[in-house]
């Protein structure tokens, strides 16, 4: 019964979404308040219905209802409870349902935090989100029904893919989707603004917090995925430029550009049509990512069951949503007018440069991701594009962006006298250069790339300190605390996110520059030295797990003869599927990781486990700074949106709009 209830809830949700997607929009066009007033209740009802459906699916997983196809394929009665819950979004159908749930959740949030939005604006925003929902609900119901019954029911499930049986699975997809889908709000605001002909600072101020929150979630989601790959794949990498990773990274790059151009649009009224375009593109890339992952047009390590009918459906949906939005953009963007003028050295120009670099980086990632598909479609052969391309193109684009990040926050709007800027930056430049020259020596080996990476990181740190000092000293208040309080949360959020980039750059630079690895055959009792440590292999012991058998290795780590720790890398053989998983043992530290993973038993008889094993040992200096940096960026984002000005400003501006005093088209 429960699965049928879920299925029924989805159908009703579709009907509600159709109401939500059409009537309020119609009401806004006809200036009919009664139709516009449908927006809130329809969006809320739709969310609750999808949540009910999601709950039903989760219940089926938790209760081991193997008469549901989806459960029988992706779960097993031996699977621990938290993974049964996570298995809800482990399949294609379940993850689409999660997508739809998130979309409903964001719409619900918009209905809660929009008391000050003018009614036509809200009606249009909610309607656009409703239309996107319609597409996803149709997709679910017609090609990917998660509640499909299996007749006769299976006695036991085939189990969740062992790769997904990991705490990462519990958190990574929901957070990633929060980010992905969150861009739908900025997108809907952009479409609503184009439809209503109101593209101004107020619109930018409304979009900003939503964009920043979505971006922050996406940042955490990507970082978690990267950390997950690092510790489960057993070869110590943290980013592979895989098409599916790129699919999440492209919206992130666009979202980053969007956050910055929204700042210009809000403060100076400039870059309006560009900002709208970025808002459309960010969400379009989220949709494109979904298409690339679900249709199987590209090969990727994220193998999902693919089905040509699904690919065709998403592509048609993509063409309607994105094509329609871009057509609307082509039609209306010319009418929004231009913003204020600015000098070559000004905050506007810095943010423009930031946007150009980010968008070029985005284009190069998009090109690299789709290049195999382009060539194949033109019958020019089959190729794959890997890290060498992305590394060559991406780092040279990001280096100037990181450099400008130090300069940008110190510039003023409209124009900044160059000598004044130079005076402020002299000190920071000195610190960065000296650090970049000296630190690599202290770490053991000087190399140009490490020096350059550290220069960028310390440039960001030093300019941030300069910026903060200047802010505090120019504050008229007395006392450090009062001075600190005088700055807004959004300022501190910005500072923190930029510091996060610096921390991230330190991590990437040092791990690329100084990581060491060794792939060795070790007999029981044998040891190997690496980077000042001795790793002694004590053999492998078998043992049971909840739904797998484990072979647990034991490796003693010594430094100067003193025992530091014993690492326990594992091989797991899952009962239901017979698949093997490698669980690396990692000693995580502030200054780096010691990482040990088990390869295969070496020898003629692969069933003999008490002989020699292939063992992989890595030393990864500062690798955790990569994820720490990402979390700082996200934290910065969350702090920035706590700024009271978004709430206050909404009230005053909205009051003026209701008063009919502002006719904003091209008014800047």
């Amino acid at each position: 019964m429960i699965p049928e209830l879920g299925h029924f809830a989805l159908i009703v949700a579709l009907l509600t979404a159709i109401v939500q997607g059409t009537l309020p929009m119609l009401g806004a066009a006809m200036r009919e308040p009664r139709l516009m007033a449908l927006a809130r209740p329809a969006a809320r009802a739709q969310f609750l219905l999808v949540a009910l459906a999601f709950g039903c699916l989760a219940w089926s997983f938790v209760a081991n209802d193997f008469s549901v196809q989806n459960v029988a394929t992706n779960s097993n009665s031996e699977l621990p409870l938290h993974y049964r819950v996570a298995a809800t979004w482990g399949s294609h159908e379940g993850s689409l349902l999660l997508w739809t749930l998130m979309l409903g959740g964001w719409s619900f949030a918009v209905t809660l935090f929009s008391r000050n939005l003018p009614a036509p604006m809200l009606a249009r925003v909610i309607s656009v989100m409703g239309l996107v929902s319609v597409g996803f609900l149709l997709f679910l119901l017609f090609t990917s029904n998660p509640f499909e019954r299996l007749v006769p029911a299976a006695a036991e499930g085939r189990d969740l893919n062992p790769l997904l049986q990991d705490p990462g699975m519990v958190f990574h997809p929901p957070l990633l989707y929060m980010g992905y889908v969150g861009f739908s709000v900025a997108f809907s605001f952009a479409i609503a603004a184009l439809l209503g002909g109101r593209l101004d600072a107020t619109w930018a101020r409304w979009s900003r917090p939503w964009t920043t929150v979505a971006w922050s979630f996406l940042t955490v989601g990507i970082a978690l995925g990267s950390a997950w790959a690092y510790y489960t794949l057993g070869w110590g990498g943290w980013w592979f430029w895989d098409p599916v990773e790129n699919a999440s990274f492209m919206p992130w790059l666009t979202g980053t550009a969007l956050i910055h151009s929204l700042a210009v649009t809000e403060k100076r009224g400039a870059f309006k049509s560009w900002t709208v375009l970025l808002a459309i593109v960010a969400f379009s890339l989220s949709l494109l990512g979904t298409f690339l992952v679900r249709s199987g047009v590209l090969t990727s390590v994220h193998a999902f069951a693919t089905d040509p009918a699904r690919g065709v459906f998403i592509l048609v949906f993509l063409a309607i949503v994105i094509g329609g939005s871009l057509a609307l953009f082509a039609w209306r963007a010319g009418k929004v007018g231009l913003g204020g003028a600015f000098d070559l050295v000004s905050r506007e120009s810095m943010l423009l440069a930031n946007n150009v670099l980010l968008v070029v980086a985005l284009a190069s990632v998009l090109l690299g991701t789709l290049y195999p598909l382009f060539l194949d479609a033109l019958n020019l052969g089959k190729i794959s594009v890997g890290p060498p391309y992305f590394d060559t193109v991406f780092y040279p684009l990001m280096a100037p962006a990181a450099f400008l990040m130090g300069v940008g926050p110190l510039t003023r709007w409209t124009r900044t006298p160059l000598p004044e800027l130079a005076t402020r930056l002299r000190w920071a430049l000195g610190v960065a250069i000296v650090t970049a020259l000296i630190v690599p020596f202290l770490l053991g080996r000087w190399s140009l790339l490490v020096a350059f990476g550290l220069f960028l990181a310390f440039w960001i740190f030093a300019t941030t300190v300069v910026n903060l000092r200047q802010r505090l000293s120019s504050s008229p208040r007395h006392g450090l605390l009062a001075k600190l309080r005088a700055n807004s949360p959004s300022y501190y959020g910005m500072i923190l996110a930029h510091l996060g980039i610096g921390v991230f750059v330190v991590g990437v630079t040092l791990v690329k520059g100084y990581e060491v690895e060794k792939d060795v055959r070790l007999d029981t009792g044998e040891s190997v030295a690496l980077g000042g440590y001795d790793f002694k292999f004590l053999g492998v012991t078998p043992g049971p797990g909840p739904n797998y058998r484990a072979l647990t290795g034991s490796v003693e780590v010594r430094k100067d003869g003193r025992l530091i720790e014993t690492l326990a890398p594992e091989k797991r053989i899952y009962n239901a599927s017979g698949q093997t998983m490698t669980i690396a043992a990692i000693d995580t530290g502030f200054f780096g990781d010691r990482y040990v993973s088990l390869g295969e038993p070496v020898g003629t008889d692969p069933t003999k486990i008490d002989g020699a094993w292939g063992v992989r040992i890595y030393l990864k200096p500062f690798v955790d700074w990569i994820w720490m940096g990402a979390f700082l960026m996200a934290l910065g984002g969350f702090i920035a949106v706590s700024d009271r000005r978004y709430r206050l400003a909404l009230k005053t501006r909205a009051a003026r709009v209701f008063g009919g005093a502002v006719g904003n088209v091209g008014a800047d």
């Binding site: 249709s295 047009v297 592509l315 094509g323 871009l326 039609w331 010319g334 598909l373 194949d376």
Partner: protein, 175 residues
């Protein structure tokens, strides 16, 4: 003019959709073999049921399939019933290449699952496999009368792949 400028994103998107549409019809996992249209790499290897070596020279003059299999290969079990049917129908001789496998295990596997092969050769160290560019067992090659590789299937045979590609090609070559 202005509208043209604002339409650029739309134009780019339309082109992109075109490519994605074509891409949907393709299989990105399908990697063409460089051997197609070239002579099959020669070998002379012991047969699984007798120590007498079998060489490519003895096979020239007839159209045949070369099926790469192994007792350790799980997906070989999937295609095995089809191979048995094919052997019963006697449309085309199928030769086996027991790839990186212990001959005893191979013989036991054939005894258990049935032997569809006219003969199987044993590639214990996988050298012939390297010559043939084997990277996923099972693989099946279609080789014509003059010893030229005409088609390569990677992964297990299916009813569709046999009916739509391999058998029509075999009939064409046998004419």
């Amino acid at each position: 003019m202005k509208t043209v400028r604002w339409s650029i994103p739309l134009a780019i998107f339309v082109v992109l959709v075109g490519f994605l549409w074509v891409g949907l019809g393709r299989d990105p996992r399908e990697v063409p073999s460089p051997l197609i249209g070239k002579p099959a790499p020669s070998f002379a290897l012991p047969q699984i049921h007798s120590d007498k070596p079998l060489s490519t020279a003895e096979l020239t003059g007839k159209v045949y399939l070369l099926n790469v299999w192994a007792s350790w290969c799980v997906s070989c079990r999937v295609e095995h019933p089809l191979l048995l049917q094919l052997a019963q129908a006697k449309i085309v001789p199928v030769y086996g290449l027991d790839y990186k496998d212990n001959p005893d295990d191979g013989r036991a596997w054939l005894a258990q699952n049935g032997d569809p092969y006219t003969s199987s050769i044993v590639d214990l160290d996988g050298r012939v496999g390297i010559d043939y560019g084997v990277y996923g067992v099972p693989e099946t090659f279609v080789i014509d009368r003059s010893g030229i590789v005409r088609y390569k299937q990677i992964g297990p045979l299916s009813v569709e792949s046999l009916q739509q590609k391999i058998l029509p090609l075999v009939r064409e070559l046998q004419k």
